[in-house]
Symmetry: D3
């Protein structure tokens, strides 16, 4: 039995709340069980210097964690004066994953920034951030379409993410912190709505994993992502 009492292939309670805050073009509170991440999208009519005049847009992401999102207080990065390597690695992953869903030419010369701030952390913050970030991105692009700023939808894929791992020898889905910290392997998957891979990041925490184990994890992850994508669709459809 998993520490969370879940079946191996069982997700935590997944919930998306649209409009959690009021000023952002898109604002989504995503909950994967006790992991709560606020994802906002911001439209900026400029592009970064390296894209000036190239006729394309940009999508980027920043990630942060409130100091007391965790069981013990984590020092504030703004006070320490820099973002940790972990933070940078995660925000680069979120940025790449969501950028992959957008036709940047069709977006035009503008930037969409996704801010993913963890209010409460219980494992899987990066996969929650990608799944909620995609919704915030969808909402910001809807604004552009509704206002007539864009007439063709530049969002060409639906993106969601989940973690899978090997815990006590069995592949399990959507690890919480108690499971993650004792798992032998940790794999984060980002996929589109056709079940194709956008990112795959696997790490052997306690011992290397075999090709067979990898195959089992990939299948488990795909099923989880399909369920998360269904939840994304439901909330967009007002459900």
């Amino acid at each position: 039995m998993r520490p969370s009492q879940r079946r191996p292939d069982e997700l935590r309670l997944i919930r998306f709340t649209l409009g959690f805050t009021r000023y952002a073009e898109g604002s989504v509170l995503v909950e994967f069980g006790d992991t709560h991440v606020l994802c906002t999208s911001s439209l900026d009519p400029n592009v970064p210097p390296f894209l000036k005049g190239k006729g394309q847009g940009w999508v980027t992401a920043e990630y942060g964690m409130l100091p007391r999102a965790t069981a013990e207080r984590t020092p504030r990065e703004a006070t320490r004066g820099k973002q940790s390597g972990r933070t940078q690695e995660i925000q680069r992953l979120i940025g790449r994953s969501l950028r992959a869903a957008v036709d940047l030419k069709a977006l035009g010369e503008r930037t969409i920034t996704l801010d993913c701030d963890v209010l409460q952390a219980d494992g899987g913050t990066r996969t929650a951030a990608i799944s909620g970030g995609w919704l915030a991105l969808r909402l910001a692009i809807n604004r552009l379409l509704d206002s007539g700023a864009l007439t063709v939808d530049p969002l060409r894929a639906q993106v969601a993410a989940v973690s899978v791992g090997i815990w006590e020898g069995i592949p399990v889905l959507d690890l919480d912190y108690a499971e993650d910290s004792t798992a032998a392997t940790d794999l984060n998957l980002v996929m589109d709505e056709q079940g194709r891979f956008i990112e795959i990041q696997g790490t052997a925490e306690a011992q290397p994993f075999s090709r067979n184990e990898l195959d089992a994890l990939l299948s488990l992850g795909e099923s989880g992502i399909r369920a998360i994508q269904a939840a994304q669709c439901a909330v967009l459809n007002g459900g």
Copy 2:
């Protein structure tokens, strides 16, 4: 008529939600209208180096604002590599205000850190943070009393704060952003439950203010703080 349609002496809707997040010793979401601040308190069994071995505790605060708490996105301080002067000024004010409420000797050699993170900003974030921070502090100290770590309550005062200002020539209470940005004078008051001053910070934004104007502002502020303190008591009493 104020931009907010409120009477001059009318507060915004004030709401405190205890236990908004689950890991902190105290966790309070405070709402002053559309200003939403998450205040958490964290107990640390150590004190800063300058207090080592002095037989007293410490209370300190940190303040942050999510990038899209505001109408336009504000750059993330962790990315910029430092806290702004404004941020430091505010967190020093929160720290002093709450420290003034605590008998540090009675607290013993431990530190309580208040983290005040603005999820949504519509003016008055520092006064909301102090008012909500006091509740988070109260909750953390209750833990120490409940567990028997402390037998005498070191919290000797009830602290709340509000802003007042002169808008279109009239003194008004609890300014929102639209009012604050056009006010001639901005005054932040921090008071205890006896109506005594803990902090008073007034700035002539557009033109200097007279002693008479100051007197009117102080009276208005006191009435507002009494109402906020009543709300603090109500939520502690389960109301």
Copy 3:
């Protein structure tokens, strides 16, 4: 009897020396007893980016303290790599106070920077800096008027500052370090020549203060500021 042997309403010896250094547009050494601050003003024909093309000028201030201005050596901020929160808070206060005295439209698109560097510190460095900084500002603007760069004086108020506090239960004026470090309350006042408030910043160091105590402090501060303003006028008139 105060540690300084002064009467409660007695200022320290106040002295302004114009032209203490030779390159700045305005250079003033201000002494409040053993507190010595060098205030210089610098003219810059540009404005900060956020004011470009808005047809107005800017006034700003920076504050520093030489490492051995104090009884014990303070680490150099340039070596530590950042300004402390206290330094930023003080330089923001100086900047706001002096900016309030200037008609920025009438100043035109230029910046005046006040540098206030403490050579020796015995309490009250921020109030000395504001009082001396106003003179340095006056001198720089005189240059603009003398050269014909400006024909209308943009300096619309005379600004000075002083601290007051409650020491051993009595309100006292212009606290030195020995008094300040044991005072129950510390209040910094910035006023114009009409006795109106530009800034008021009060902190209950040891215990909250009542409305009556505040009133007494405000009256005491006003009398001190009038005397400092007289000294400012005298030195400008060659006295």
Copy 4:
């Protein structure tokens, strides 16, 4: 035909030069074609603070690139004042990969630091660094065994890495810069000598990849890693 004129499953010329510099406990110049990385290992009798007194050792890595390792000069990170997100991501990957090969308890309370500095970059620097870093780690541990400081070998796996990608629709092995910059998918694999995975990091650069494509890439990568491991063995055996 690939830009490099290689067959899809053909590695670049792989060469390891032991003892390239003289002071480090292990020093290896690794060449993957025109990618040249100097890997050194340093023994330190201490462990990081979080491991003090826990009876285990630590293995960590740092990565850097000389400014003119690349076709255009890259600004020096020491001058810019911080390591880029890319640099931190890579050095964290190297550290995790090599740490996975070591029994940290058996290593005892000491730290081995791998420095991987790119002298010349033509794609695949991280996989070259891991493959060369493993040899530098092997050499440092040999020192400990030779000197009698250790009697049981804590190195429990042989680690090597390679990149694979989909270029013009076909899976190819060990991409150089020209190939990498135009590939649709980029996958870095780290494996042990039993063909088990230690790290797998795949990114859809131009378009998502299917499960079948992933399978083909994994097989191609495994064959490349076996060849690199053979080269590692050869150079250790004096070949």
Copy 5:
């Protein structure tokens, strides 16, 4: 004729004012013409970590320049967040020069820090700082001798410094800014009271200099340093 109207071998007016500020163990305002540097010495009963328990003391120096010491305002290093290369080079030179005058074993386990802050700059700030810094060092050590903390004088040499240069083809002494900025060669000399070299730093600004020119500069510098040392002695003797 030199821009300063001085003869080639003529120093500027050299003046040392002891006790310019009151808290430092030694405080000296040094003037080399319009170059004014405040040098203070601070005693610290600790030594840096690398000297802990080695039975010797340390002497170090820090250098700074007030923003408006110069004809045009120089950005404040504390605001920029780091000391410039020039600043670090100068403070390392001051530290080495004064350390060379002290028997660090005889000083015992304590640190003396020299802070040299330029109030007004007209060329030659580093040589003024060394010459004034030696006096501040002398004063701090006198305190240790007077209090009985030391019984043997650890100061074994008298140190002074001057700049020489080739201006319009002729060797000149003690260059001011107007001369320095147009000189072909700039040489800073630090010597002891026996005319021996402690530091020699020469730079060909406009064109290389010959051995003969170097010889002339060295002789000129020696004569200047002897005069500065006489002034140091005079002020110590109450002159």
Copy 6:
């Protein structure tokens, strides 16, 4: 006998390898015995802001040391977040020395950056860097001449450098680390092909040095520099 077994006037084995890396406009590995420095030159069609539109070019240098170039690992400056004072001092020396060899007007509005990275350090890294850096500069300028971008050679001098010192009372040439760390005096000389001085930097490490000792060191250094210049010519001539 010197620790290195060399005669007092004997250089270490000096070797220059051109084209050590392939992308830089000039790439030189310089060896002074066990001191190995990789010097690369990079052409940039821009000039720094302070030279924009002045019709002249710029030559600058950056210096770094790989963490394990030394007997004990030195922390990486990119990780520490800043360059040390020593690093900045050395790169400023290299930059000044090589800039002195170039007619910046004749170079035209472009920048040449010399990167000098120490792969292995055994004393004398700055003199090796200057001597090798001059060759890298020569190669970059040759590119400009060969391509027709320049028709007149802006390189007007041949520059080399060496260290000399007083070890056990005798002047010795080209000190290695064992000699340097025990020498009483350390002098770095940079000269042109006519034996004129470009830089002279001498420091009394253990005791001051006399004019006679300085004379002996200068003569010794000149002979060493001539030999290094001969080696520079030889390698340029294909020897």
